[in-house]
């Protein structure tokens, strides 16, 4: 357990990607950054660029158009990386399930580490999801207690 592994758990930078969501979850994701919730307490920073991200936060169901983009962005994130699917649509397709243009949940395209349910997912739930992802990461890198 080196300093790099400890740091990986203490400094997750997230990138937020919206597939074809109704923007309900997106607003909740951004709400996490506000003074009320302030996820920066955990070292979380919202990045606008996959090259700097550690955690990909995806909202909304994957459609045929965004699948390629989602895959591309995921490929551009340097290892190690985590994916969190936020909201019912990102998990399964939600109310858009079986629509003509919808593939389904994010796990149709990417390996998802944590699902955060809810429509829309509440900020507390999203923070909980991120903490869960960090625990999973710390197990993976061997820092877990």
């Amino acid at each position: 357990m080196g300093i790099i592994q400890v740091s990986q758990v203490k400094s997750p930078w997230i990138m937020h990607f919206c597939n074809s969501s109704c923007n309900g979850c997106d607003i909740e994701v951004l709400a996490c950054l506000t003074p009320l919730y302030d996820v920066e307490r955990f070292g979380l920073v919202n990045m606008g660029n996959p090259k700097h991200a550690d955690v990909l936060v995806v909202t909304g169901p994957v459609n045929y158009r965004t699948a390629r983009v989602l895959k591309n962005l995921y490929d551009q994130i340097p290892d190690p990386k985590m994916v969190i699917a936020v909201g019912a649509c990102a998990a399964t397709g939600g109310v858009f399930h079986n629509c003509y243009n919808i593939l389904g949940g994010v796990d149709k395209v990417l390996p998802v580490d944590v699902y955060v349910p809810g429509c829309a997912a509440r900020p507390e739930a999203i923070i909980d999801g991120v903490v869960l992802a960090l625990q999973k990461l710390s197990k993976a890198v061997g820092v877990a207690k």
Binding site: N49, P50, K51, R68, V69, L70, N72, L73, D75, Q76
Partner: protein, 663 residues
């Protein structure tokens, strides 16, 4: 070898070689003659270095007569050019030279006295420095031209080769320059001055396009103004000193300036000759002839910018520095500093590679002229070091520009995008050349650093220097950025270049490093004596391999009793440079493990080696990036009016003061 022979080789051999290449119209033989001449000139310049200071006047008076005849032949040719091109400026300034000259020699009966001025040649360390710069760098450029001109004509699909003519002027140029920097007799100096102007005109107009001829004619009339000023200076010196030719040698003018024996009457002729030098050095507002010279084939530009022509201008200004009145010195410094500033800012908006190089040359010449104007030991050292380093770096850069031009057949900076992948070798040399123009640890920056440490005596010039150095960084970095901006290509290979290209390129490349690292010994053994030809040398600036400037070097620090003015650790900085640039290339663990496509919002249309993305309606669109040129703020259209106004005003003020003081 005797001095007579050395002078003959330096001045006449290029002429003979020129005639030979003109007569023998055969590619290989021509190459051989040029290479042999180059080698002989280089060896000869080393002989000059070993010979040391001396004077020489040819025994036979025949040479004086020949030069007088050739003078008139050239001036008549200018008149012919003016008439045949219907270019009245050329005609006008040819007449302003030929009429006073003829009246003076034949009307006023000075011709026999003028042919007997002695000494004809004075060899001192400053001229030796110049001879070495001209012979070594100039020769390398001529070697480069052998293959370049072949490719040039191949590309233009000329029916009848015009190379013999080209090489005649090119090689002869070196001889004229050698003569110019060695001559002490003003009549001879004037003659060589005119020969360089003539060569310059012929070479610029070489391609015979309308633009080439026009730009050549512009170079001709602008430099003819300089010639006129020189004739006026000589006549003034002759008539104010009771029709005697005593003061028609550089050494006597300088001597008179040092001991003040001529008083205020010396000021006007010195200012006029300084003006001549500044025109040749393309100082604002006369920068246009050098910019126009860009139409010529690249070896010509390389020659004009690095070792010959413009360097003749700054040489004359530095040479006359001991005779400067302090007020004249300040004005020259401000003119030079203004040129440095204005040219650096204008360079930002240029889109053509060679024009950027041209503006950079003008800027650096401004810096050198300003250093000569400041006229202290420190600033003159800076000026001479700048001449040497500028010749090497700019020579290299022009040769690189030529090589790039022959690979992409364009001079536009925008077309050079991604050259680091297309031609890695050329790009590597070009980047090194560019870095050596403006960044530590290289010699050009050392010179600029010395200049800035010396410039405080003229605070206006100091401020202009500072603003100009910032602009310098921007325009070089912009161009460098275009070269580096690449989409990685898989399976790239290094381009192969002809030996005629690579030998000069690598020689100059090695020169940048050799002289850059060895600048302190170079200064101590070579430049310091040359500085001594201009100002009294009192301090040692070099200590071992490093440059240390003692506090006594400037008046302000001497007053405050400071021990050390500044220090420039040369060796350590080169080690830092090596660590910074070379180490990453060697250390495998720092290299990227994998190349991934750039961030295009996830819409990139392929792997690393494509620069396409899915645009509207899923159409594949090519990614295009352009450079910033700040056309609104820094373009010639926006600034030229102001630049010309200020530059002309500065010259008017300078001459106003000079005339006011001397009358």
């Amino acid at each position: 070898m005797s001095l007579e022979w050395m002078l003959a080789v330096a001045i006449l051999l290029p002429l003979i070689a020129g005639i030979l290449v003109y007569l023998i119209r055969h590619y290989q033989t021509r190459g051989l003659i040029v290479i042999v001449t180059a080698v002989v000139l280089i060896v000869n310049s080393i002989y000059f270095l070993r010979w040391g200071p001396d004077t020489f006047t040819p025994g036979s008076p025949m040479w004086g007569t020949i030069i007088t005849i050739l003078d008139y032949a050239m001036l008549l040719f200018y008149i012919y050019v003016g008439l045949s091109l219907k270019n009245w400026l050329v005609l006008l300034f040819a007449l302003t030279q030929v009429i006073p000259l003829a009246w003076w020699e034949f009307g006023a009966g000075a011709s026999t006295a003028l042919e007997k001025i002695s000494p004809a040649f004075v060899i001192d360390q400053l001229s030796i420095v110049m001879v070495m710069v001209i012979s070594i760098i100039g020769s390398l450029i001529c070697v480069y031209a052998i293959r370049y001109m072949y490719d040039h004509e191949e590309h233009k699909k000329l029916e009848k080769s015009r190379q013999p003519r080209f090489f005649f002027w090119l090689v002869m140029f070196l001889g004229a320059m050698n003569g110019l920097v060695l001559a002490d007799n003003l009549m001879w100096l004037y003659f060589f001055w005119e020969v360089t102007t003539l060569c310059c005109f012929q070479l610029i107009a070489h391609d015979l396009t309308k633009e080439a001829i026009n730009n050549g004619a512009r170079a001709l009339w602008m430099n003819s103004i300089g010639g006129t000023a020189m004739v006026a200076a000589m006549m003034y010196l002759y008539f104010t000193n009771g029709n005697s030719v005593d003061y028609l040698t550089l050494s006597n003018i300088i001597e008179a300036g040092r001991n003040g024996s001529l008083g205020a009457t010396l000021m006007l002729p010195v200012a006029l000759m300084c003006f001549t030098g500044m025109i040749k050095a393309a100082q604002m507002p006369f920068q246009n002839w050098l910019l126009g010279a860009m139409v010529a084939p690249t070896p010509v530009s390389a020659l004009l910018h690095s070792s010959t022509m413009v360097k003749a201008g700054v040489y004359l200004v530095i040479r006359l520095a001991p005779a400067f009145d302090p007020v004249l010195g300040v004005m020259v410094a401000i003119c030079g500093a203004f040129t440095f500033f204005a040219a650096s800012v204008l360079a930002i908006s240029q889109t053509t590679g060679k024009r950027v190089l041209a503006y950079s040359t003008i800027a650096n010449l401004g810096l050198i002229v300003a250093c000569a104007g400041i006229n202290t030991e420190l600033s003159i050292s800076a000026a001479i070091l700048l001449i040497i380093f500028h010749a090497i770096s700019k020579g290299l850069l022009f040769l690189c520009a030529g090589t790039i031009e022959h690979q992409i057949w364009s001079r536009e900076i925008e077309d050079m995008e991604g050259l680091a992948e297309k031609a890695p070798l050329t790009t590597f040399i070009t980047i090194t050349g560019m870095l050596s123009m403006f960044l530590p640890p290289f010699g050009m920056l050392l010179g600029k650093w010395m200049a800035l440490e010396a410039v405080y005596v003229v605070p206006l010039a100091a401020i202009l220097f500072v603003l100009a150095s910032a602009a310098t960084m921007v325009f070089w970095a912009k161009w460098l950025g275009r070269l580096l901006q690449v989409t990685p290509r898989l399976g790239r290979k290094i381009e192969s270049l002809s030996l005629s290209y690579t030998v000069p390129l690598w020689s100059l490349f090695a020169g940048i490093f050799a002289f850059g690292i060895g600048v302190a010994p170079l200064y101590d053994k070579f430049v310091r004596a040359a500085v001594g030809n201009v100002v009294t040398v009192q301090h040692a600036f070099a200590e071992g391999w490093n440059i240390l400037i003692p506090g006594a070097a400037t008046t302000l620090s001497a007053e405050k009793g400071i021990e050390m003015l500044g220090s420039y650790p040369v060796w350590p900085l080169f080690i830092v440079f090596a660590v910074a640039i070379v180490l990453p290339l060697l250390l495998v663990s720092l290299k990227p493990q994998e190349l991934r496509p750039v961030y295009l919002c996830g819409e990139q249309a392929g792997d690393v080696d494509t620069d396409e993305w899915y645009g509207a309606a899923d159409q594949k669109t090519k990614l295009e990036l352009g450079g910033y040129y700040f056309k609104g703020a820094a373009s010639e259209e926006a600034l030229n009016t102001w630049v010309y106004l200020i530059a002309i005003a500065l010259f008017v003020i300078m001459f106003g003061i000079v005339v006011g003081v001397s009358l």
